[in-house]
Symmetry: C2
Subunit: 360 residues, 2 copies
């Protein structure tokens, strides 16, 4: 087991990464202070890991409840969130009740937001069971739900007590979801660490085959990079925005198609290709680097051509993105692997990128 | 104008108290950094003070939007909160948009919670127009909405940029709502400052008559006391719980009757009488002090007898209160004016109090 510590002062927490961690009582024990625990999971993950987690918690003698939500981004909304609140209130959860998010990014984001809001804040633990959530949404404290007008529009910054990333859980992950997780691994290398990007290029097939050692390294390095960025900028004042590379275009794809049509990681994979194209057009990135990025995105079986939403719709959707200010879209651009630039882009360049990278 | 500063480090903010403050541009100017402002108000307050506030903001050259919500505790729920989110997204509010809560406690709590959650946090200003919200809900950063199973169950601790408490706005307040505000003034004196309690006893008629000088003093002293308690315990770990004197019984009354039947302050007024009765039964408070408290509650035209919900229902409702832990009800008891005790109470004492203070 490897442990990455996220340094956030009195909100610091550990990320434990390794195989078969869900069943280890000792990993949960230090983080559960109250008398009760509510596990929040979904219809897909509950039959796979629900019993294993409850067996790990049993020796602690807590009152354990489980809420099983419907699966998918389409359910990341108020109605589903309210199912968590209903369950907490029905089981008389109090201010010391610990929530455990068992599942992917949607489960983690909703459980974290429920923990942030229930009685104005209760503790929670993340047990991410997808590659995407292990490398991405379990680090950084971003929680929330979608609104029909925009993704993650309603939420909170709220840190977990601990993250327990069980690599063994990835064996049951569908190939498409594994690829969506690799997208965030590629992103992390591209924006922050050229050497790690090289490693990804050389090992993408091992990740595709779900090799535990390769996955553990990818998760560890991604968490380390993200943790250092978040520690420097917890509330996304500046630096942290680089983590949104590929997300401006990606969010437009997700919102434009309707949440759930493409996986978040698929939209980010394609979004990175689009952002790299824009970076080349603005004279920031060389063509060879763009081609390398496209190659690794394709090798991870991620889409590299955007859906035909129409250029105007893309721009409109990017303008309501949380990173936009006064209607001006802030793009995360690439200068070279490991170095980014955040700024506006001329309309002509954006239009040219959309013409070149979107399905006609 | 008097200013009380709430000392919370980088979340510190001023409370300005005085007459005719809503129209003063200079009070708003330092707290609005972005290009747009969304005023959140309700159908009662908008026709009274909406134009005055917009006129004060006009010289700042901001893009100003207004959301008018239905009035009353019965609307302090997700559906109404979502009207704020819809309006923010429709008007393309960004992360620097400032929300202004113009109204009473319900408007302030919902606007503050919307500000805490919209894009994971935008700035907001409180302009409380009721006595209750001026003395109570505008200090302390408690925001939130009700759930059918309990009051303020979903929310956040989130501090405003500033509070602008216009005493002149209280002239349009119905007598019943003024009395509800006096309840919180009485509470503040009772728990924290015997001298202020004496002043309230001597001046309660002046408050009932809405005399500006008496009101300004009551608001100032209440805010000072609450600000010092909150500064010592922002997230309600300990000391802050004393502010809930009268609220354990009070919340049970509100939830049992259905929110909106009694005003919050009316329930707190009666709840204080019940908590004082329990304090006497537990040998903590002398009978003469209890009688003084009952007398001042009555003098403020507040109810001193609880509605007939049935003793079991009272206990059940108090067990789901946020202050309860593992089903044990934590009562805020009075030892003498200015000194409280927080603890459990024997069932027999609680039953005897309910028998003595509730309508049969």
């Amino acid at each position: 087991m490897i442990t990455v510590n996220v340094e956030l002062g009195d909100r610091a927490y550990p990320i434990h990464i390794g195989s078969d961690l869900i069943g280890q009582t000792a990993l949960f024990a230090p983080h559960i202070a109250g008398k009760s625990v509510t596990i929040v999971t979904n219809t897909v993950v509950e039959p796979l890991y629900g019993e294993k987690l409850r067996a790990a918690l049993a020796p602690l003698g807590k009152d354990v409840h489980t809420v099983v939500l419907p699966d998918g981004e389409a359910f990341k909304n108020w109605e589903t969130l309210n199912q968590i609140f209903d369950a907490l209130l029905t089981s008389r959860a109090d201010r010391k009740t610990t929530l455990i998010a068992l599942g992917g990014g949607v489960t983690g984001d909703m459980t974290g937001f429920a923990a942030a809001c229930y009685m104005r804040g209760v503790p929670f633990i993340q047990v991410p069971t997808t590659l995407l959530s292990q490398v991405d949404s379990s680090v950084g404290g971003k929680t929330g739900i979608n609104h029909p007008f925009g993704k993650n529009m309603i939420g909170a910054f709220y840190q977990p007590q601990a993250v327990i990333a069980d690599i063994a859980a990835l064996r049951t992950l569908p190939a498409r979801e594994l690829a969506a997780g690799v997208a965030e691994v590629i992103k992390t290398g591209a924006i922050a660490d050229a050497e790690f990007f090289n490693w990804i290029e050389a090992n993408v097939e091992r990740l595709n085959r779900c090799e535990p050692e390769a996955l553990a390294h990818a998760v560890k390095r991604s968490c380390e990079i993200k943790a250092s960025v978040v520690a420097a900028d917890e509330r996304e004042g500046g630096l942290r925005a680089i983590l949104n590379f590929g997300h401006t275009f990606g969010h437009a794809i997700e919102a434009g198609l309707g949440y759930g049509e493409w996986l978040h990681g698929e939209a980010v994979g394609c979004g990175m290709v689009m952002a790299a194209d824009l970076s080349v057009r603005m004279g920031m990135l060389d063509e060879a680097s763009r081609e390398r990025l496209v190659r690794v995105v394709k090798a991870a079986h991620l889409p590299d051509v955007g859906p035909a939403l129409g250029a105007d719709r893309y721009v409109e959707l990017m303008q309501v993105d949380k990173k936009a200010e006064g209607g001006a879209i802030k793009f995360i651009l690439l200068k070279r692997f490991g170095e980014t630039h955040i700024g506006l882009a001329p309309d002509e360049a954006v239009q040219a990128t959309l013409a070149a990278t979107v399905k006609s």
